[in-house]
């Protein structure tokens, strides 16, 4: 019985987790493209002032892609009394904290928001509670499906504010390498000296880092060290003054200028269906290609010097594979890089991988 199709397919489902290492350097965070005030900047302030976005290219360009948002949260009832958030919302930092807490940590049995805690215990307010975390929210482009455990690394300059930062001799590395897995994909972020400084949510792509206590020497708590300075405004604030008096956008700018490097490895989950097809020895040995026969309907591969040769058996070559629905519509197509011979008596088996 002549046919052009075969139902001889077995299907195997599999998952793949390709990974991609990314490094974002200071030249992107605070170097090449200037600050939000200029049109060609790769930094974009949120229109309501709740966060600041870093792009890989001037954000007005169509080819620009967002990398991460930086924002700040302040825990209500914590160590800081904030008076500034955004231009219109003095409670913005508290609202951001609550929003992040609700999303990442959820509510406890009493209905209260759980709190960010460097110890990894989020249910009690202790000395390790993060009262003013900096949030790095990574875009889908950067984090893909999740951040690989142990791959996050942020190198930040702890020196007093200057423009530009020197990035020499005063660098602190914050990482989740060799860290502890907490609930639901959370991991503790530590300095290279082993001090807990924040929480990484690998699945949401959010890093919450308590800069004030994160650094070994707690320099940002030192009133002699300026965390945020705006020379034009004659402001010279230490960390506490900055958290209480600066807007989220000003704090994000201060943080951005301190970043020497940020790197992580993302993971993408690919779901594969591999269709193993088998053409038996007696199948697919002829072709409907019009050039397969000459004008006399003779199969060209069975000719010798232009005349039929009874010693030759028809064969074909495969360059493409089609996968079809039950109604005959072509659902997927695969090509073989080099033509493969198909001849009588020799089955042809190949796996066709369809990734979704």
């Amino acid at each position: 019985m002549a046919t052009k199709f075969s139902p001889n397919i077995t299907i195997e489902y599999a998952k793949q987790y390709p990974k991609e290492a990314l490094v974002v350097t200071a030249s992107i965070f605070s170097g090449s493209f200037g600050e939000p005030a200029i049109a060609t900047s790769n930094i974009k302030d949120h229109s309501l002032g709740y966060y600041q976005t870093t792009y890989d290219y001037p954000h007005l360009s169509q080819s620009a892609s967002p990398l991460c948002d930086i924002t700040y949260g302040v825990r209500s009832g914590g160590a800081f009394t904030t008076t500034a958030g955004t231009t219109a919302d003095p409670h913005a930092k508290e609202n951001i904290y609550n929003q992040m807490s609700a999303l990442i940590l959820g509510y406890n049995q009493t209905g209260s928001l759980r709190v960010f805690d460097l110890s990894g215990s989020f249910d009690t307010v202790a000395s390790s509670v993060m009262d003013s975390p900096t949030f790095f929210n990574f875009s889908r482009l950067v984090m893909k499906d999740e951040i690989k455990a142990g791959s996050f690394e942020l190198v930040i300059d702890e020196d007093t504010w200057k423009e530009p930062m020197s990035f020499t001799g005063s660098l602190i590395t914050i990482t989740d390498a060799d860290s502890t897995n907490l609930e639901n994909g959370l991991r503790i972020l530590k300095t290279s000296a082993g001090n807990n400084v924040g929480i990484l949510d690998r699945f949401r792509g959010i890093a919450a880092i308590q800069l004030s206590s994160s650094l070994v020497s707690t320099v940002f708590d030192n009133e002699d060290i300026d965390f945020f300075v705006s020379a034009s405004d004659a402001r010279s604030w230490d960390y506490e003054e900055s958290i209480e008096n600066a807007t989220i956008l000003e704090l994000a700018t201060a943080t951005r200028h301190r970043i020497q490097r940020l790197s992580l490895t993302n993971t993408t989950q690919l779901n594969n269906a591999i269709y193993y097809i088998t053409a038996q020895g007696a199948e697919f040995n002829y072709s409907s290609n019009p050039s397969y026969v000459n004008t006399s309907s003779q199969i060209r591969v069975c000719l010798s010097a232009g005349t039929p040769d009874n010693g030759k058996v028809a064969y074909s070559y495969v360059t493409g594979i089609g996968l079809y629905a039950s109604d005959g519509e072509l659902m997927a197509v695969a090509k073989i890089s080099k033509p493969v011979r198909k001849q009588h008596g020799f089955p042809f088996s190949i796996g066709v991988r369809l990734t979704v």
């Binding site: 052009k4 269709y275 007696a282 309907s297 199969i299 493409g320 594979i321 033509p339 991988r353």
Partner: protein, 315 residues
């Protein structure tokens, strides 16, 4: 050092546009496969090296292969075939029947050589040909009732062994059953042309499928009891009754009419899909023209032909 296992080669596939559409609709399924050799031009198999030795198969092996494309009607073209007889030395040829003496329809001549020209609007006929004979290869495609009843306006396709000397079956013998095609798919842009049932009062044939690019697929079957058997007829039992020189299968006859989408006063579709052909009518008046193809493909054999049709109306 252990031996490497024989792993199965795995190639990556892409979803076609129709496949993506079905994924979004939640009715994606795959139940069968086909193999293809679109890139192969088999003429090369007969090429000889300078010293006269055969090099053909090397030429085939070295054929560069294209990447996959996602357009489902164009992604794959030529199927490999499974035939019950492994010793075949002939397959079939597919030819348009263009000689009226063989019961066929001539193609146009001159600037339209190689085309069937379909008048898509009655005004094109009335203003240009009402007082003269319609040129060879021109069809009154604007009236599907007229087309359905006028067998001189149909397009005919024959298939069979086109070999006088070595054909396994001569003209007066039956084509082997597995090479005699009784089921075909006809594909055509439904915005341009459609099929009408032969000898009906202008009853359109409903396609079995319409893809995202407006390509309608019609299924015709010569099987007894099929409601599309009227699209087939027997070739006259005479040696010269067909362009196919030896054993023939059943003739396919295809009445094509202009879609209501272009049989309309609006020029929008005409300008989107076609253009102006200057001095088209009687070498003086311009026409709007859309060139299209109707592809006819056997369900089980290598019956395969592309019929070019030029739809025109007054500019």
């Amino acid at each position: 050092m252990s031996f490497l296992t024989h792993g199965t080669t795995i190639v990556d596939a892409i979803l076609t546009d129709e496949g993506r559409r079905r994924v979004s609709l939640g009715n994606f399924d795959i139940v069968k496969f086909s193999l293809h050799d679109d890139e192969i031009v088999w003429d090369k198999i007969e090429q000889l090296a300078a010293d006269g030795s055969e090099i053909g198969e090397t030429q085939i092996i070295n054929t560069p292969v294209f990447e996959s494309i996602s357009e489902n009607t164009r992604a794959l073209k030529y199927h490999l075939l499974t035939m019950g007889d492994s010793g075949l030395k002939h397959l079939i040829s597919t030819l348009l029947v263009t000689q009226p003496s063989q019961g066929g329809q001539s193609q146009a001549t001159g600037a339209n050589a190689g085309w069937y020209v379909a008048l898509a609007r009655q005004s094109a006929y009335d203003s240009n040909y009402s007082n003269v004979n319609l040129p060879t290869g021109f069809i009154k495609a604007y009236d599907k009732s007229l087309i359905a009843k006028n067998s001189n306006s149909w397009i005919y396709i024959d298939h069979g062994f086109n070999d006088v000397a070595d054909a396994p079956k001569k003209w007066d013998q039956e084509l082997p059953s597995e090479l005699s095609e009784g089921r075909v798919w006809v594909k055509m842009d439904t915005r341009i042309g459609r099929l009408v049932r032969p000898n009906s009062n202008g009853v359109s044939l409903e396609p079995i499928g319409l893809d995202d690019d407006y390509i309608a697929t019609y299924f015709l079957s010569a099987s007894p009891g099929s409601d599309t058997s009227e699209f087939f007829e027997n070739v006259q039992a005479k040696e010269g009754a067909s362009p196919i020189l030896a054993a023939r299968g059943r003739r396919i006859r295809l009445p094509v009419y202009a879609s209501p989408d272009i049989n309309a006063a609006s020029n929008v579709l005409w300008n989107n899909l076609g253009g102006t052909s200057t001095n088209f009518f009687n070498s003086s008046d311009d026409a709007l023209a859309i060139d299209t193809i109707m592809s006819v493909e056997g369900v089980t054999t290598n019956l395969n032909i592309t019929v070019p049709i030029r739809f025109v109306k007054n500019a």
